[in-house]
Assembly symmetry: C2
Homo-oligomer: 212 residues x 2
């Protein structure tokens, strides 16, 4: 027995998919997490829209032509994609895979439908659903300008409630009452997932196999 062979090395990274209804504060939580967990790598999206002043390839986006993006779709190289205002946006599989293989955790912040598409292609991800502290509070966040008609508010709340129903397909749910608390819970989930028996068992079996 030598310490080199029978100690456990750090395993493959984990993909965390953070989602939740419109207005719940996914972006704010993700931005805060960037500060408190600098080791987590943020998934970089691909897009066909033109780079804006100061945007850097591979940092803000992977900039693609329409043809290049279509090829990513055709070769199953995007975990999900959607078209907004005439441009494609999507999550390149390779960036995620390469980062995980290097032992780093990746976080992907995405709306509810996109997250479910990712789950189909990447079921080993850890899917976290962000909830508002209450439906009243979600309504407050949805009514941003105070100029919305009752009908618009009702319609947005109805969409949000339908989105909340989809938490059924997620692994975890976190209430976004305080951003710091939500971040701390995401950190806990990540730490716990790294301790899952299924992640540790194959190595331990190899480890004790060397004794017998």
């Amino acid at each position: 027995m030598t310490s080199n062979t029978n100690t456990l090395e750090r395993e493959r990274g984990i993909l965390i998919v953070l989602s939740g209804p419109s207005g719940v504060g996914k972006g704010t939580v993700c931005a805060a997490l960037r500060n408190c967990s600098p080791d987590i790598v943020y998934s970089v999206s691909a897009t066909t829209r033109a780079p804006r002043q100061g945007e850097v390839e591979g940092v803000n986006y992977f900039f693609k032509t329409r043809e290049q993006f279509q090829q990513l779709i055709d070769t199953d190289e995007v975990l999900e994609w959607a078209e907004y205002v005439g441009n494609y946006y999507g999550t390149p599989r390779r960036f995620v895979e390469d980062t995980l293989r290097a032992g780093q955790d990746v976080i992907l912040e995405i709306e509810v439908q996109g997250a479910l598409k990712v789950k189909q292609k990447f079921p080993e991800g850890v899917f976290i659903f962000l909830l508002p502290p209450s439906l009243d509070e979600l309504q407050n966040r949805i009514v941003t300008r105070g100029t919305e008609t009752d009908e618009v508010i009702r319609s947005r709340m109805s969409v949000a409630v339908d989105e909340i129903r989809l938490m059924e397909h997620y692994d975890y749910a976190i209430i976004n009452d305080r951003v710091e608390t939500a971040c701390s819970k995401i950190q806990s989930i990540l730490a716990a997932e790294h301790c899952k028996k299924d992640r540790m068992y194959p190595k331990v079996i190899q480890w004790i196999g060397e004794v017998n």
Copy 2:
């Protein structure tokens, strides 16, 4: 909608079962956890042995006669039990159940075989397996007095390796390299388990049901 009905209340507590091979340091980790997580309630065992000076009923043990203990066994009121040196020791189900129902988390530190018995009767518990940093290190911990024969050491290591194989039946595995790190991982697992979707979903469904 009122805030009283559509916010989420804290759910039922979680039973954590902490186990691992002889010599891995379960007791040390549990004692440290008592300091850093004073909210976790420690499972109190029942025993037929006589109270020692200073031991308090319901704090150190629940002291039982042999007949009372036998009745606990017969009525399925112990999650596991064993006989050592002519006395019964076991984990009373009611103490665990009452504490969980009051919304408090419970931790039970127990050897590997006992933990598996608990799992049969209480599968909803969270089973954490403590691993040594390496097999060399476990051997160092097993060879406590330095007077053991090679045969005794080999036999103890063989038992320990057989116990490690049983981690297969656990939910999580933690390497006890530093006590503080192990405690922090247990805390993360507990926080993550409280965020499990299955624990949150029924309440959220009730919550959004009130809107429609």
